[in-house]
């Protein structure tokens, strides 16, 4: 691989990383939010390195230019001469690096969508492990916005019943069980989409929208079972309103 091609690849990778992290929120489809500064930093570094590499390749190609010229003059009719001329320009660049062009081009042209109901339906819902105890009072707000994770841990592990009587609002996409129960579902990631696990809140008192639709549900917690036991699962919400919404910028929750 020639030096200026290597430099070009670095710029391509850098551009792809910056396109999803600095110029848009697309990176949230793949990795957790806290990785953003590192992505921006790496993208910037890659572009800088690529440009420096291009400059270095350019200056390096100018120096041996004269000798190369003489070479070609001497062996005008020999096939080797062209190979020989190239020999000065490129160091033994790793050819496997070309593979980086695939994800880079994909990210620049058509970034893959976030994982959704397909992945959620294949996996068992994650059961957050936690100690039973009392929780801080819910923040003010009527209804109060909670993540599925917050709702679940309060629904299952809160011995103080901090959600009793409060109107809460949850956002997720619709998944269904064969028995007809439907859930507000989110995928939780801890590092990247490869480790995603679904988290589900069962919704009662409302007809199920089509699977995969994103909805915002307002309702109240439906207490059941003793906190921390199997009977407390799955966390359940009595819905008062169900509203369709577009997919949020940040499709996953954090573990």
């Amino acid at each position: 691989m020639r030096r200026n091609v290597q430099a070009g690849l670095l710029v391509l990778c850098g551009a792809a990383v910056l396109r999803i992290s600095l110029f848009s929120e697309v990176y949230l489809r793949y990795v957790k939010a806290s990785l953003r500064p590192y992505l921006i930093l790496s993208g910037g570094l890659l572009i800088t390195l690529g440009l420096l590499g291009a400059v270095a390749a350019w200056t390096a190609s100018r120096k041996p230019q004269e000798t190369k010229h003489e070479h070609e003059h001497e062996h005008e009719h020999e096939h080797e001469s062209t190979n020989h001329g190239h020999g000065h320009d490129h160091t033994s660049g790793p050819r496997v690096g070309w593979l980086l062009a695939i994800p880079a081009a994909a990210l620049l042209l058509f970034p893959p969508p976030a994982l959704g109901s397909y992945s959620a339906e294949r996996e068992e819902a994650a059961r957050i492990a936690q100690r039973v105890g009392t929780f801080d009072a819910l923040p003010a707000g009527d209804p109060v916005d909670l993540t599925l994770n917050q709702f679940t841990s309060r629904a299952v592990y809160d011995s103080g019943g901090s959600m009793t009587g409060r109107a809460v609002r949850l956002t997720g996409f619709v998944t269904r069980d064969p028995d007809g129960t439907w859930y507000a579902t989110r995928l939780q990631i801890s590092c990247c989409a490869a480790d995603s696990r679904p988290i589900k809140v069962a919704i009662r008192d409302a007809p199920a929208p089509p699977p995969g639709t994103w909805v915002t549900i307002t309702g109240t917690w439906h207490p059941k079972g003793t906190p921390g036991t199997d009977e407390a699962w799955p966390p359940t919400l009595d819905a008062t309103t169900v509203k369709r919404v577009p997919q949020p910028e940040s499709p996953y929750e954090n573990w």
Binding site: M1, Q6, A7, L9, L10, C13, V17, I20, Y27, R29, Y30, V31, L35, Y38, L39, L41, S42, L45, L46, L49, L52, G53, A56, T91, G93, P94, R95, V96, G97, W98, L99, L100, I102, P103, A106, L107, P111, P112, P113, A114, L115, Y118, S119, R122, E123, E124, A126, R127, A129, Q130, R131, S190, C191, C192, A193, A194, D195, R197, W255
Partner: protein, 382 residues
């Protein structure tokens, strides 16, 4: 065209009718035939041949064209239906594969960047004597020191491969560099803190992970001292320019060149490994594993294999392990010990950096040692 054609078929010129102009020259040939009676029969036969050929060609065109038309029509109607059916069946899986693949690459990039920066800096700026002075002369002693030094590199396994490579090129004994390679992604503070968050009720899991990972790294280093052969590694000094930086300007140039080379190299293998990881991520759903949780021994081996196949980053695998609630703590410990040391992504990275002969032997041995050490530690602590 015409004058040429006429000239070509005139019998007194060539005495032959060119087969390639048979259709067009029909009438002209007839007038020529009248002039030269002696060749009449032969020419007539030729004309008939030509006409037959033309007719046959016409039939071929009509029949073949119709057939093609039918095939094209059927294909254009059924093809999309078939493709749509395939897409309906496999489309979501393909889309999910594509997303997971991209996600693994994207999250690997910053760590790879860190790793290549550190390794290129070691290659360009740190003189060889430094490591010789820091590490004990005796290899058997240098191994545990290097293993414990893994604490200082806060990254996942993608970062440690290029660093270990540049350590070797700077004259660090392979055994020590390999111990560092194994321990760095598993025992650094970021990973240990994440582990304690993933297992809030069991701090012994954090201790177990630290002890078992360090033990594996050190044992592997010692095994290398005893049985390892430098023949399995690529010859030292692949990049001779890296060995002797002269002026400060050259060093920066060397640093830049090192980062460029290492990033493209390791990045390419990261792409290979990510494709493998995404494939297994889509093919092996987590819920399928529940069937294997009954036997404790089998479950340890199963999770140890799974760690190799899934290639979860060492900064995330504790959360995956925590979610595998059906498995024994020892099995989950094995998952966390094996994962950062042996997985498809790492094998791809290592065979790129150190050669395939090395990567296969080393990964196989590491896998066995890691499973053994997590079983021992699990039996002792958990």
């Amino acid at each position: 065209m015409r004058p040429d054609v006429r000239g070509a078929v005139r019998p007194d010129v060539h005495g032959e009718v060119r087969p390639d102009v048979r259709g067009d020259v029909h009438s002209d040939v007839r007038s020529d035939v009248r002039r030269d009676r002696g060749r009449h029969g032969r020419d007539l036969r030729r004309v008939a041949d030509g006409a037959r050929l033309a007719a046959r060609g016409l039939v071929y065109v009509v029949v073949g064209g119709t057939a093609l038309l039918v095939i094209a029509t059927v294909a254009s109607v059924l093809g999309p239906m078939f493709a749509w059916d395939l897409w309906g069946r496999y489309g979501p899986a393909v889309a999910a594969w594509w997303t997971v693949f991209t996600a693994v690459v994207v999250q690997g990039v910053p760590f790879l960047m860190l790793g290549t920066l550190v390794s290129a800096a070691i290659g360009a700026f740190v003189p060889e004597q430094v490591f010789r002075r820091l590490l004990p002369r005796n290899q058997a002693l240098a191994v545990p020191v290097a293993g414990a030094a893994g604490v200082v590199l806060p990254g996942c396994e993608c970062a440690s491969v290029p660093v270990a490579d540049s350590l070797m090129r700077r004259g660090v004994a392979p055994a020590a560099a390999l111990a560092f390679l194994l321990s760095a992604p598993a025992i650094n503070p970021v990973v240990l803190v994440a582990t304690s968050i993933a297992f809030p009720d069991s701090p012994e899991m954090v201790v177990g992970r630290l002890v078992a990972s360090l033990a594996t790294a050190v044992v592997m280093g010692w095994l290398w001292v005893r049985f390892g052969s430098d023949k399995w590694l690529p010859p030292r000094g692949r990049r001779p320019a890296a060995q002797t930086p002269t002026s400060p300007g050259d060093r920066w140039g060397e640093f830049r060149g090192g980062v460029q080379h290492d990033f493209l190299h390791a990045g390419g293998f990261l792409v290979v490994g990510s494709a493998a990881a995404a494939t297994f991520n889509i093919v092996v759903p987590g819920s399928m594993l529940a069937a294997f949780t009954e036997s404790p021994w089998l479950s340890v081996l199963l999770l140890a294999v799974l760690a190799v196949l899934l290639c979860v980053c060492s900064e995330a695998d504790e959360f995956v392990a925590a979610s595998l609630t059906g498995f024994s703590p020892t099995a989950r410990l094995a998952f966390m010990v094996v994962g950062p040391m042996v997985d498809l992504k790492l094998i791809a990275l290592q065979s790129g950096t150190f050669g395939r002969a090395f990567a296969i032997r080393f990964s196989a041995a590491t896998w066995v040692v890691a499973v053994a050490s997590s079983v021992l530690v699990g039996w002792w602590l958990l």
